[in-house]
């Protein structure tokens, strides 16, 4: 929000193009048989896309640190949930 409207418009359009390009990439990669690497590639692309939306569309790039911590807390919570659950499931 601390950007000039014209600069913000440019940022949004560039992000949109990047997001669509990454969509094409993740879709295309799913048809290349790479085994477990497919999942890694898909997930990496999703995280990249999410980062673009969080930083640019949702303005976390310019946000107050308090806001960033709150925004990150949900994702941090899931990471703990999945990591600890897997530490059980994968070691049985």
């Amino acid at each position: 929000m601390n950007q000039q409207p014209v600069a913000a418009l440019r940022t949004y359009v560039i992000s949109w193009c990047a997001l669509l390009a990454l969509l094409a990439l993740t879709l295309g990669s799913a048809y290349v048989p790479l085994g477990w690497l497919n999942t890694v590639i898909n997930l990496t692309i999703s995280i990249t896309q999410a980062a673009i939306v969080l930083l640019f569309s949702m303005h976390l790039r310019f946000a107050h640190p308090t806001l960033r911590v709150v925004a990150g807390s949900g994702f941090f919570g899931i990471a703990i949930l999945i990591a600890l659950s897997l530490s059980d499931v994968l070691t049985r």
Partner: protein, 213 residues
């Protein structure tokens, strides 16, 4: 209504501080939304780790073409939403209404495509407890995949529907001139919600539709 809601609440020093407080509030809500979907993602992860082959078999039965189109629709709606917030911030009434209406149209398109997808799933007998009919290997595990598929996409679609309703209300407010460069928080906060629904879909899409190998 513009003058009543636009007024600075007494506990704030200025409009900027009031905006920051609203953003903090919506982000706390969004963090709980992330946790809400996170539980479903965790259930998905554990089930899939348990039986990767059945999940690949299930995923191959989903409609990747419609889902990919829908991803593009949602990403585009996120752009139009961002432009709507920008227009509200610059106090341009017509542009705000235009962008918000376009966002609503894209949101409805997403739901319509999702509906077509569900219809195809129904015809292909893929709906657990309704008409699930799969005779291949590990049918029970494939059915479990479809349980997760319907719960995750269904709850996500509900969030899109709520977004469509809220954005429509914002468009009506905007048409009455409720927003200006000092007061556009409702549009801003609605935009943050809409972008988060978009982010969640960016993970749902590869999880459910792209498990091909």
């Amino acid at each position: 209504m513009g003058s009543t809601v636009a007024a600075l609440a007494p506990q704030f020093d200025d409009a900027a501080q009031q905006r920051e407080a609203s953003r903090l509030g919506i982000w706390i809500f969004l963090a709980t939304e992330v946790l809400f979907f996170g539980v479903l993602f965790a259930a998905y992860t554990i089930t899939r780790v348990h039986d990767p082959a059945a999940f690949a078999a299930g995923s191959r039965l989903t409609n990747v073409t419609l889902a990919s189109i829908n991803t593009a629709v949602l990403l585009t709606s996120s752009l139009t939403m961002a432009l709507g917030v920008l227009a509200a911030q610059s106090g341009s009434r017509r542009a705000t209404v235009g962008w918000l209406s376009l966002t609503v149209a894209l949101g409805i398109s997403f739901l319509a495509i999702k509906g077509i997808e569900y219809r195809i799933d129904y015809l292909e007998h893929l709906i657990p407890t309704v008409n699930f009919l799969y005779t291949g290997a590990q049918a029970g595990r494939v059915e479990l995949f479809f349980y997760l598929y319907f719960v995750i996409t269904g709850i996500h679609a509900l969030h899109v529907l709520i977004g469509v309703v809220v954005i429509s209300v914002m468009a009506v407010f905007a048409s009455k001139g409720a927003f200006n460069s000092d007061y556009f928080t409702p549009v801003d906060v609605t935009g943050l919600y809409w972008h988060l629904v978009d982010i969640i879909w960016l993970f749902v899409y590869p999880m459910l539709y792209l498990v091909r190998s």
